[in-house]
Amino acid sequence: MSWLAERLAGSIRARLLLSLCGGLGLLLLATFVLLDLGIDRQIHGRLDDALLGRARGIAAVLESHPPAAALAELQAFNPGYADSGHTDFLQIWDARGRTLLASASNAAANLQPPPAAVAANAPLFYDLRLPDGHSGRAVALRLNVGRHGADAVLAVAQERTDVDALEGQVHLALVAAAIGTIVLAALLAVLAVRGGLRPLLEFGARARGGAPAGEALPPERMPRELRPFAESLNAAFRQLREALERERRFARDVAHELRTPLAEMRMAVELAQRDAGDPAPLHGALGAIERMRRCIDGLLALSRYEAGLDRPQLEPLELAGLLRRALATAQPPAARNAVRIEAALPRECWVSSDTALLERIVDNLLLNAAEYAPPDSRVRVRLEPADDGLRLCIENPAPALEAADLAHLGERFWRKSAAREASRHGGLGLALARALAGVLGLRLAFALEHGVFRASLEPLREIAALMQPES
């Protein structure tokens, strides 16, 4: 039921169809029930009228003739009363319930007497089982018979098999007509709803298409009811296009303003390096420029992803290989800090992700661990199964870190201590990693247990088609 309620709440088409089909179905059902009752009443009324007319005629004969003569006359007049095997029956009882007279068609059996007392001038109709075993209809009348006008009850009965068959045929025809009409009405409702909602669905499809150049939803081709929505959406699309264009221009301007000075610096340093024969300070300057370039590239990439100007390019990538390459990159800074990196990785592991983004996330996490781990400590890297994929865990001892610091780790340019501001860290690595993880639909969580900091990235989704069967 909750599934149905959910479907109904979630779809105008489902609600319209249910109310139309349900309403029409109930209406048609009620109409056919009333029709059936009316037809039944007509059929029974005609049968009862015929029976009553015949009973009154028989009563007149019985009241004017001696019973035996009257019966002989009746059987002569209507041979149906004369022999068994016919469909008409009659019987007369005296006031004490004794049979005074019975038609020969009754054979040896008696007619079923009326179920209640019969009042004078008030015929009593009732259904009964006839002496021949068939079902029948009877009417009972009070009358006076014989010379002394003794009080008696006359019952005239008739087989009702034909009437029942007619009634059955009428029922069948009505039920078939009801089902057919309801099915046709449902079909009509489906077609009407589909046709009626088509402009709305087309509107939805166009609106889903986003904000292409030009007018996405021409209001003049929309039904009158949808025009306000089309106009509002067009205005929203226009604003979105303008905002995207502004973002694009801004990203270009920022790229130009930040990268051009870097290019100038790099060229100047390279030129000086050639003049001075590659001295170490200039080498350091090139390193600083390269770090700044990476930082700017990361920020620009992030702003473009967050503004929706770029989308991640998912492709099959071998995660174990990517991690081994990242470990090799992190090795020199780790070695400088006397930190050892230990990794427990499978031989091969294929996931679907954006190589450049994932590389940047992993590089940032590893570099952070290698540079913040205390000397002579170990950074541990492992891949483990998670609920819906794989989890990458990178752990390093972090004696200076406190639980309250964890909340700040995703913030841009946050550093644990002002004393470190002159260090190589820009306070951007983890923030960038977390933001890029968000772009990839991954969760990057930080935890601190017993002085060990753990960054976990999940779910890295394995490609089902590439899963190796376990041997």
Binding site: R252, R259, A263, R266, A465
Partner: protein, 221 residues
């Protein structure tokens, strides 16, 4: 080699001129697009390095003026703009190469030499109907529109396009685009092929890559 540097940065331009001159090249420096066109009208250059965001006349306008010009001058765009659309536009306007700032001087020098060596030969590009691949810029486009491919999808398409008419097995394709060895190589190529074909179909090229069952894939020659 005779070079023209079109660069408005008052430090980068002169530094580039100095570095290239020291490497033995004849170098002129233009600080805006109009000055660049004057130099180009007066002298014949082997290669022009062209910034895009220039005062007075920007880099795109310079490229437009150079379109259809005789003389075999190669153009290397040197810009801070790194977006695909910028590269596509510059290449569509006749640029031969595109390098994003900041760059390593050694890379710039190597690209300039490669362009000069090419001489009058047409730019190396791979084409199949409306699909064009620019290997030096790692760009794929259908007509004038960029085809958004992931790096591996691009590499797969380039591998097939560079050997048009030749059936390449999945193992061969895997080896050409991944540096790892893998037991899953066949399936990786299948997954990549499926997404690549989806993107090609969206661009109106559903039949570009044919499957030769039991042998591999081919772009018909």
């Amino acid at each position: 080699m005779r070079l023209l540097i079109v660069e408005d940065s008052p430090t980068l331009g002169p530094d580039l001129r100095t570095a290239l001159a020291r490497d033995g090249h004849a170098v002129d420096l233009a600080a805006d697009g109009e000055e660049a066109l004057r130099y180009l009208a007066a002298y014949r250059y082997d290669v022009v390095t062209l910034d895009l965001m220039l005062p007075r006349l920007d880099g795109w306008a310079v490229l437009r003026r150079l379109q259809g010009r005789e003389g075999g001058t190669r153009v290397l765009v040197l810009s801070a703009r790194d977006q695909v659309e910028d590269r596509v536009e510059a290449l569509n306007l006749g640029a031969d190469d595109y390098l994003v700032k900041p760059f390593a001087y050694a890379e710039l020098a190597a690209r300039l030499h490669a362009l000069a060596r090419r001489g009058d030969a047409p730019a190396p590009r791979l084409q199949a109907g409306p699909l064009v691949l620019e290997p030096h810029a790692r760009l794929a486009r259908v007509g004038e529109a960029a085809l958004p491919l992931s790096p591996k999808e691009y590499a797969l398409l380039e591998a097939l396009m560079s050997q048009r008419g030749k059936v390449l097995s999945r193992a061969a394709l895997f080896e050409s685009i991944y540096d790892a060895r893998s037991e899953a190589s066949d399936k990786v190529i299948e997954v990549l092929m499926s997404t690549l074909r989806g993107k090609l179909a969206q661009a109106g090229l559903p039949e570009l890559i044919e499957t030769r069952r039991g042998f591999g894939y081919v772009v018909a020659g």
